[in-house]
């Protein structure tokens, strides 16, 4: 490290009170920013859980669909129509609906029931316990071992329950990539059993899951589905549509944005003010350095180094604290929806860089203005 920066480092860290105040300001801001954006990322991920877990390439749905949780049933003939589109390798129906379970201890629990195509079981999750063929047994269901699993009373294979007055039996326990958003467990069964056990309107297909013959066929399939009056989205497009809904149509996004901005302002206020005071207190010393022979740009490097050092240290501590908090929260709240993404980290980093830049800007201005003559004049 160049000597001038080593001086800057020592001036900063040896002023314990200010250094801790600066670190606290940045850390607190980073912690809040990442916590807020992680919660939002967690909500968005869980909002698309069904889409992620089923994993189909193309989803066909009613154009009015906003999220995967709110289904508008499709007429049965749409299945045949989609299957007849050139480029479609296969298309299967998917049922998604809510049911009320009566557990073996007599308590009631809401659940999401996913009905998979009887023949192919396309989109089935990998099993931890049980065998796939058992789903064709009488009243058979798979439970998903996600963060909501315990709400089913931690059942085992063979555990029985009631589903809308029908007998249900657990024949397998599966795991999935993402838990759902609404805090209820998920059961998988066959499409036809789901239709039979859950009260339904006239049409029962929630979505059509389509696999194209090749990626090049995706565009023509989407166009053909649109022409038929329905909407076909790739997996990524559907996830984006769901994210957009939560972001722009629910107020969640706005609230998270406001909280993030408040965190930024708090961090900027604490750190900016403390750093400015720190520079002011050392202003005469900077003037003395200038008189001795330090160049203006060397003093600017010192201040930028100090601001960057404290910002990066605070950023690291803030990220660590946030990770620890989320980890601790998940130990006690398994369905705690928070996800630290590279995007969150990048956003917080940009915010911290802005805080450091603004904080140092005023210090730099002050230091560049100080005249060594003022040091002599006293």
């Amino acid at each position: 490290m160049p000597g001038i920066l080593q001086i800057a480092y020592k001036l900063l860290v040896n002023d314990r009170a200010k250094y801790i105040a600066l670190l606290a300001g940045i850390t607190f801001a980073v912690f809040l920013m990442i916590e807020m954006t992680s919660l939002f990322a967690g909500i968005l991920l869980r909002g698309s859980a069904t889409v992620i877990n089923i994993g189909a390439s193309i989803w066909v749905m009613d154009p009015s669909i906003q999220t995967v949780a709110n289904t508008i049933s499709l007429p049965d003939y749409v299945l045949d129509e989609v299957r007849s589109i050139p480029g479609v390798k296969y298309a299967v129906p998917l049922y998604s609906g809510a049911a009320l379970l009566k557990l073996h201890d007599g308590t009631y629990q809401a659940a999401n029931v996913v009905g998979l195509d009887d023949t192919s079981l396309f989109g089935r999750p990998p099993l931890e316990q049980g065998t796939v063929e058992d789903i064709y047994g009488e009243n058979a269901f798979f439970a998903v071992n996600d963060s909501e699993f315990y709400k089913l009373g931690n059942p085992k294979v063979g555990t029985e329950f009631e589903l809308n007055d029908h007998r249900g039996v657990l024949v397998g326990i599966a795991h999935v990539a993402s838990s759902g958003l609404f805090g209820i467990p998920t059961l998988y069964t066959t499409y036809n059993r789901a239709r039979q056990y859950i009260p339904n309107p006239r049409f029962t297909i929630s979505y059509l899951l389509v696999e194209p013959k090749s990626p090049a066929d995706v565009a023509s399939i989407k166009a053909a589905v649109t022409k038929a009056g329905y909407l076909a989205l790739t997996k990524d497009e559907f996830i984006q549509k769901i994210s957009d809904f939560y972001m722009y149509h629910t107020g969640i996004g706005t609230n998270m944005l406001i909280m993030t901005v408040i965190s930024f302002i708090i961090g900027l206020s604490i750190s900016g003010q403390t750093f400015y005071t720190f520079v002011l207190e050392n202003l005469e010393k900077f003037g003395a350095l200038k008189a001795i022979g330090a160049k203006g740009r060397e003093l600017v490097y010192m201040i930028l180094f100090q601001a960057s050092f404290v910002a990066l240290t605070g950023y690291g501590i803030g990220v660590g604290m946030c990770t620890l908090t989320i980890w601790l929260a998940r130990l006690n709240l398994p369905d705690y929806a928070a996800l630290i993404t590279f995007g969150n980290l990048g956003l917080a980093f940009i915010m911290v860089v802005i805080i450091a830049a603004i904080s140092s800007y005023f210090g730099v201005r002050k230091v560049l203005k100080i005249e060594p003559f003022d040091i002599f004049r006293g």
Partner: protein, 235 residues
């Protein structure tokens, strides 16, 4: 043997403000200072001593006039070159010392060497040598706030001499010290810091240290006048 000129100031003028608020702080000052001498600049507050000192040390640009230090007309240099010149040729001892309380004494002394981009550890070693010269080697690892006023002044002197400058400038070196300590400091400078290759300029109010000067010039209302030391001693 003729003395070699260290500083040559010619027709220096400096004023501040404009119109009715214009103050002519230094009026047509010319003088020479030589290697091997300790030259005092004395005079009442507001007489222009500090302004004149700032102009000859390259930190305040005169409105007119020239300053030559060892044949270099310093006010023809650009800002960076002038800063570099000060760093290598001039050592400063400020009235309030301006030591960094968050650095150790040795680190404070090493600052000019660090600004010269010398290796950190080497700079500290050299700083300790100069702390030894001023009798404070055993204080090297202490922060300046743990030292007495006289000791802090010595640290400031060590910092001023560490880069071996030819010119040393002291601004009111005894202002913050009691009489005995102030005299001892200046006596020490006279006996240990002054050499044939060095010129020391001291701005002071303190008549108790006049005995250590080779020459004394007096400033009044921005003008400089030569003065006999004996007369000042008598005052």
């Amino acid at each position: 043997m003729a003395q070699k000129t260290a500083i040559e100031a010619e027709g220096l003028n400096k004023w501040f403000g404009e119109g009715d608020a214009k103050t002519h702080a230094v009026k047509d000052v010319s003088f020479q200072a030589y290697f091997g001498e300790m030259l005092y600049v004395v005079g009442p507050s507001g007489s222009g001593k500090t302004t004149m000192l700032s102009m000859i040390s390259g930190i305040l640009r005169p409105n007119s006039g020239t300053v030559k230090i060892e044949d270099t007309a310093i006010w023809t240099l650009g800002d960076d070159a002038l800063a570099e010149f000060r760093l290598h040729k001039i050592g400063f001892v400020f009235q309030d010392y301006h030591l960094f309380p968050r650095l150790t004494t040795a680190e404070n002394v090493a600052i000019p060497l660090i600004l010269q981009k010398r290796n950190w550890n080497e700079a500290l070693k050299e700083a300790e040598v100069d702390l030894d010269v001023v009798g404070l080697k055993n204080r090297a690892q202490l922060p300046p706030v743990k030292l007495s006023g006289g000791e802090q002044q010595r640290v400031a002197i060590a910092r001023a001499i560490v880069s071996r400058p030819d010119i040393l400038i002291f601004d009111e070196p005894t202002a913050s010290l009691d009489g005995d300590t102030g005299r001892n400091i200046v006596k020490f400078v006279r006996e240990h810091i002054l050499s044939d290759q060095r010129c020391i300029l001291i701005v002071t109010h303190d008549s108790r240290i006049y005995e250590y000067a080779d020459r004394i010039v007096k400033m009044e209302d921005g003008k400089m006048m030569g003065i006999e030391r004996e007369k000042l001693d008598a005052q």
